[in-house]
């Protein structure tokens, strides 16, 4: 900030009445207090995860009197990474499955949603707009309501205990919102670009590939990240659809600790922390796209 910009403000401050100064001070103090409270509120559950994961003894969570483990140990992380416990036997396989589900959901969502959004928004296939609106109703229907018939359906399609049934479910949940965001985003791209390309003889496919995709890249990134995180974090369908341990995702593997009475909680927490790292990394790396893309749909309606 330049000197010219700061000096009038300073002068105004100096002239401020004592009451105003007191008030400004109170506002500042309140902000700091709120910041502190927010910090505690946000970090306590995260700290709790670390606390349990760093506990050295297998399955002991006697934290009475300790706010930090006496001998913090990374043993539980070691156990997870080296699959050194019978609940964790297939950890890397399950980790890979989670990635597989996430990436497949991302790719399919981006491909299907961008094609549909292009046809509806850019090629003005307006009658299909009804379809997008109906699809949004999926958001209104509790996923648990769909879960029961979906399991039956997966069996009928021959997809029981198949990871593709999970991918289909995640894609179904991700797509309506993806189409909405893409359609909204595309309104800032001038229609004349498409027109010009068409006059030059480009086919709709070429317009889609050469104009639409490059220009909507930020929205595609937002939508893809959204789908990835949705698929990674979703748990009900994965839990219900996948029955054999080799096909489980990490989400389901965490859940099995819950079903057991004498499970080592520190291992579970270590697993949960490792499971949280990829989405957190993706989120913070792409948070600009994420926030822009996700709020775009919401703010504009």
């Amino acid at each position: 900030m330049s000197v010219a910009a700061t000096s009038p403000r300073r002068r105004r401050r100096r002239r401020a009445r004592p009451r105003d100064r007191l008030r400004r001070w109170a506002v500042e103090a309140g902000s700091v207090a709120l910041c502190g409270a927010l910090l505690i509120w946000t970090l306590v559950p995260v700290y709790n995860m670390l606390l349990i994961a760093l506990d050295p003894d297998e399955g002991e969570t006697e934290f009475t009197g300790t706010l930090f483990p006496d001998e913090p140990s990374l043993n539980s992380f070691r156990a997870v990474v080296s699959q050194d416990y019978w609940y964790l036997e297939h950890f890397w396989q399950q980790f890979a499955n989670s990635f597989y589900v996430g990436l497949a959901t991302m790719a399919l969502t981006v491909a299907i949603a961008s094609l549909a959004a292009f046809a509806i928004g850019r090629m003005r296939l307006t009658r299909v707009r009804v379809l997008t609106n109906t699809a949004l109703i999926i958001y209104a229907i509790p996923s648990a309501l769909l879960a029961i018939p979906f399991i039956r359906l997966a069996q009928r399609y021959g997809l029981s205990d198949n990871i593709w049934a999970v991918i289909a479910a995640e894609v179904m949940f991700a797509i309506p919102f993806a189409v909405l965001v893409l359609q909204q985003y595309a309104t800032i791209i001038p229609m004349e670009l498409d027109e010009a390309a068409r006059i030059d003889g480009a086919s709709p496919w070429q317009v889609y590939l050469r104009i639409y995709l490059p220009l909507t890249a930020p929205a595609l990134a937002a939508v893809g990240t959204y789908a990835l995180l949705l698929a990674w974090g979703e748990y009900l369908y994965q839990y219900l659809l996948l029955s054999s341990e080799r096909n489980w995702t990490v989400a389901v593997a965490i859940e099995q600790f819950f079903d057991a009475d004498e499970a080592p909680w520190n291992y579970m927490m270590a697993l949960a922390i490792i499971y949280s790292l990829p989405p957190i990394a993706v989120f913070y790396a792409l948070r600009r796209y994420m926030a822009a893309g996700l709020t775009m749909g919401a703010v504009k309606g």
């Binding site: 559950p45 309501l145 359906l153 479910a169 600009r288």
Partner: protein, 303 residues
């Protein structure tokens, strides 16, 4: 660094004119292309959404199921819990998010930094978050009770022994997870309000409170109502929080309709009853969705 840069939010006008619609009718190969582009989407929708929905309605169409439900005290309790959960959690969360978004509009570097930290619950997947809450609140050795005892000498309650406390724990965990998302939505909404309005009001001598009341509130009302309706719908459909935080404890008194539905279907092998339990939420959900759609359509007359 401005807040916009932190979040990558662009200033978007709330009211944007629709692009002029050309009255060109698609025909011939154009139409074929357009239809081909929509086919995958339609296929996913029909195969994996429309069909299960129709199937669910067919499964839950027997009136006897609902008689059975209403005779089950667990069902009535779950319905009450769902209503409480949606009523309290949605409104508290939205109000808190509205106030917090105002806080994050302040131009201080440490508030911007705080915003980055505050997004963490949103970035964290739901399962670890709720599992952590479960272990934080459980019994005598949960982190919260030991912290209360160590720091303040307070003997914390047994969170999952009383229905109300357990229900509150579920709500708090849910709010913890989703508050950042809604804060961000309102932050974007506030940023869409032209700064000139605030400046003009400030010149006219309006205090911060009055500016909030006469500028922010009227311009955010639509967004606030849409968000509250959406949050209500999502809460009613949420399974994970109630399943993992309290897990229905004490003795299945904190179940909600979704968990009850899944337990009917997969633990007591009564899938039709499970579908009926979930379907019974629709008479409440459908009006909310209709209002939601109307509100979303009205967005263009705003500002």
């Amino acid at each position: 660094m401005s807040t916009q840069q932190v979040l990558g939010l662009r200033r978007v006008a709330i009211a944007r004119r629709r692009p002029p619609r050309w009255h060109v009718h698609l025909h011939g190969s154009e139409l074929a292309w357009a239809l081909a582009f929509v086919v995958p989407y339609a296929a996913v929708f029909l195969l994996f959404a429309a069909y299960p929905i129709a199937y669910a309605i067919w499964m839950g169409s027997d009136p006897a199921l609902y008689r059975e439900l209403f005779d089950d005290p667990h069902y009535l309790e779950a319905a009450a819990n769902t209503a409480l959960f949606a009523g309290f959690a949605a409104n508290i969360m939205m109000f808190a998010a509205l106030l917090l978004s105002g806080f994050f509009m302040r131009r201080r570097w440490w508030i911007k930094a705080m915003l980055v930290v505050a997004m963490l619950p949103w970035a964290l997947p739901a399962i670890p978050a709720y599992v952590s809450f479960h272990w934080m609140l459980i019994g005598d050795y949960g982190f919260l009770d030991s912290a209360l005892w160590n720091l303040f000498g307070i003997d914390g309650p047994h969170w999952f022994n009383k229905r109300w406390l357990a229900l509150a724990a579920n709500m708090i965990a849910y709010i913890w997870k989703w508050l950042p998302f809604w804060t961000l939505i309102f932050l974007a909404g506030r940023m869409a309000i032209p700064q000139e309005l605030h400046e003009a009001a400030a010149i006219d001598g309006a205090s911060g409170y009055r500016r909030f009341l006469h500028i922010t509130v009227p311009l955010l009302t639509n967004l606030y109502l849409i968000s509250t309706a959406l949050a209500t719908v999502w809460i009613v459909g949420d399974f994970t929080a109630s399943e993992l935080v309290s897990g229905g404890a004490p003795s299945r008194t904190t179940e909600v309709l979704t968990t009850l539905s899944i337990h009917y279907a997969f633990d007591s092998s009564q899938p039709a009853l499970g579908v009926a339990a979930a379907l019974s939420a629709l008479p409440v959900l459908i009006p909310i969705v209709v209002i939601l759609m109307r509100r979303i359509e009205r967005r263009e007359v705003q500002l």
